[in-house]
């Protein structure tokens, strides 16, 4: 197991612990994008300084699919923006951590997201502001594939190539599931990759759980053209009974399922405060 794989395993554990302490949340969506966010933060790709969240030279990661924030919280804790123990009071009075991320309140969170279809335009604005000032910072924004049903995503998809934003990389967590069912049974997005190509993006399609492919894609740039990574992923990745099962979009395990989760992720009863 390589280092990123080990970190990802650890992050999935934390994601579950957060969900367990919150009493709910979108953990399958968080598991789906874990390997990508881990590579971004721990694969020497994103420039950041956890001790100086406002560092001007930093790159930025914007989680447009804000409901998957448990993965972001877990990663930010591991990088040192805050302690993991601080998150575990999540969704309780006095905590800054909630079911969707809020900037200003949580160090390292670059946008307040939750309503879908907002992160792309917001990121375009930030990338544009930096490009106008000839700064070198890079902007990564994570969208859900279901989120791409929002019209505003396609306004942004038209806008970024027009503005020649080669400092912007969109990552699409293409797990092919949305809240109620498979995308193809609700509003199919086919041909998904070709759509982005037709809109003028540098499109890379990868296996979103292959660390080498993720790393190479995150490093790719094309002059004057924004890049989009269509990452084929498995929703609920890491927990056998959650993988690709729509109902796990928002649900907590029962007693029996909990013991499977603990076994598969290697979580102890103590870690969940179960006596």
């Amino acid at each position: 197991m390589n280092q990123l794989e080990e970190i990802a395993k650890d992050i999935r554990k934390t994601i579950f612990k957060i969900a367990y302490h919150a009493g709910g949340g979108h953990m399958a969506s968080a598991f789906s994008m874990t390997d990508i966010v881990v590579t971004l933060y721990f694969g020497n790709i994103l420039k950041y300084d956890a001790k100086n969240p406002e560092w001007e030279e930093r790159d930025r990661f914007i989680l447009s699919k804000g409901h998957a924030c448990y993965a972001l919280y877990a990663v930010l804790a591991k990088t040192g923006y805050f302690e993991e123990t601080e998150i575990l009071n999540i969704c309780k009075p006095g905590s800054v951590f909630g079911g969707h991320p809020k900037m200003h309140d949580i160090p390292g969170v670059e946008a307040s997201t939750g309503a879908l279809g907002h992160g792309l335009s917001f990121s375009i604005g930030m990338a544009l502001a930096h490009k106008l000032d000839q700064k070198k910072n890079h902007f990564y924004v994570m969208l859900g594939d279901g989120e791409c049903q929002e019209g505003s995503i396609w306004e942004g998809a038209l806008s970024a190539p027009t503005l020649e934003l080669d400092n912007l990389t969109v990552i699409i967590d293409h797990n092919k599931l949305q809240a109620m069912d498979k995308l193809e049974n609700i509003v199919h997005m086919k041909p998904f990759v070709e759509k982005w190509k037709a809109f003028g993006w540098n499109v890379i399609e990868i296996n979103g759980h292959d660390f080498k492919e993720i790393e190479a894609a995150l490093r790719e740039r094309k002059e004057k053209v924004p890049t989009v990574i269509v990452a084929n992923t498995i929703k609920g990745k890491g927990i056998s009974f959650m993988e690709e099962v729509p109902i796990w979009h928002y649900r907590m395990p029962n007693e029996e399922e909990l013991s499977i989760v603990m076994k598969e992720l290697g979580i102890t009863r103590e870690e969940l405060n179960i006596k």
Partner: protein
């Protein structure tokens, strides 16, 4: 108003490179001078209001001061969630400029009327809402919005408004302007309808009715003190706005009256929860939708008798 706004923006952008004019393919020739001289601070983001406001929020988050301009109806209705989440919730320093206040695009019909924009955005936390009454006030409001750090919506008319101020005055966000003293009744107005209020006041004075006129150029934060003064010092209050009577100035003032603990005769003039009827000149539209000068005068007389 539009010219006053653009001239002010031009001056601000010339001296401060953080200022950007963002448009959503609306403004045609009015932006010509700005585009010619300040092309690097000008962005036409196309017919995509949601994207424009999201981009504006992102730019503001990185130190720019974007003035995002298009017809108010397309901002307050179509892009409301972008105003709420990207601009107000994140408290980004975006200036949202909505043109065509009320029924001023009288020939274009209700899709282009901003007659419920205040109702849509007035409850949004962190948002300052300015509704200037004349070209001079637009200039002052634009400068004040620039100096204020945080989200501001400016409700602009079009380009034909008369000046209501005869001399210079102090403009302060959140402070209304008492345009004249009066004892029988106070008419509280906002935006370019104040021109009509001043005319109505002159006609009423000929009949011996003393009218106080108050200009509320800031819908939020509201000048509660000035309204309470009118409650205490005059016998009745009328609000008037080129907007629906629900959600705008009339609602805001009635909230102050209700909480003041003082009973006073009160009437809201505006669109009576309808989409504006018909077409015509702006004056005809006001007359045909309960906002004509005659209606103002009759309402005053009804209320004080």
């Amino acid at each position: 108003m539009r010219t006053a706004y653009l001239n002010t923006l031009y001056e601000l952008a010339k001296t401060d490179k953080r200022v950007y004019a963002l448009i959503s393919d609306n403004g045609a020739i009015v932006y010509d001078k700005y585009r010619r001289d300040l092309s690097s601070q000008y962005l036409n983001l196309g017919i995509s209001e949601e994207n424009m406001l999201g981009v504006a929020a992102g730019m503001a988050n990185c130190g720019k001061i974007p003035f995002a301009y298009t017809i108010g109806a397309f901002l307050a209705y179509r892009a409301l969630e972008f105003i709420r989440n990207d601009i107000c919730l994140q408290n980004t320093n975006v200036k949202i400029i909505g043109t065509g206040a009320g029924m001023v695009y009288s020939m274009l019909g209700p899709t282009h009327h901003s007659t419920e924009d205040l109702g849509c955005i007035r409850s949004l936390p962190n948002l300052v809402i300015l509704s200037p009454a004349s070209p001079l006030e637009v200039t002052k409001a634009t400068k004040a919005a620039y100096l204020y750090s945080g989200p501001v919506y400016i409700r602009l008319g079009t380009n034909k408004e008369q000046e209501i101020y005869k001399e210079d005055y102090d403009f302060e966000i959140g402070k209304g302007v008492q345009l004249c003293e009066g004892e029988d009744i106070t008419i509280i107005g906002t935006g370019n309808i104040l021109v009509d209020v001043i005319k109505a006041k002159e006609l009423l004075e000929e009949e011996g009715i003393s009218v106080r006129v108050v200009n509320i150029h800031t819908i939020k934060p509201l000048d509660v003190g000035l309204i309470e003064k009118a409650i205490k010092e005059t016998k009745a209050i009328i609000t008037i706005e080129d907007h629906d009577i629900i959600g705008g100035l009339g609602s805001a003032v009635s909230e102050v009256i209700a909480e003041s603990g003082i009973g006073i005769k009160f009437r809201r003039l505006g669109l009576n929860n309808i989409f504006a009827k018909g077409y015509g000149t702006y004056t005809q539209m006001k007359e045909n939708n309960g906002l004509g000068i005659e209606t103002i005068c009759n309402t005053v007389k009804e209320l004080i008798n």
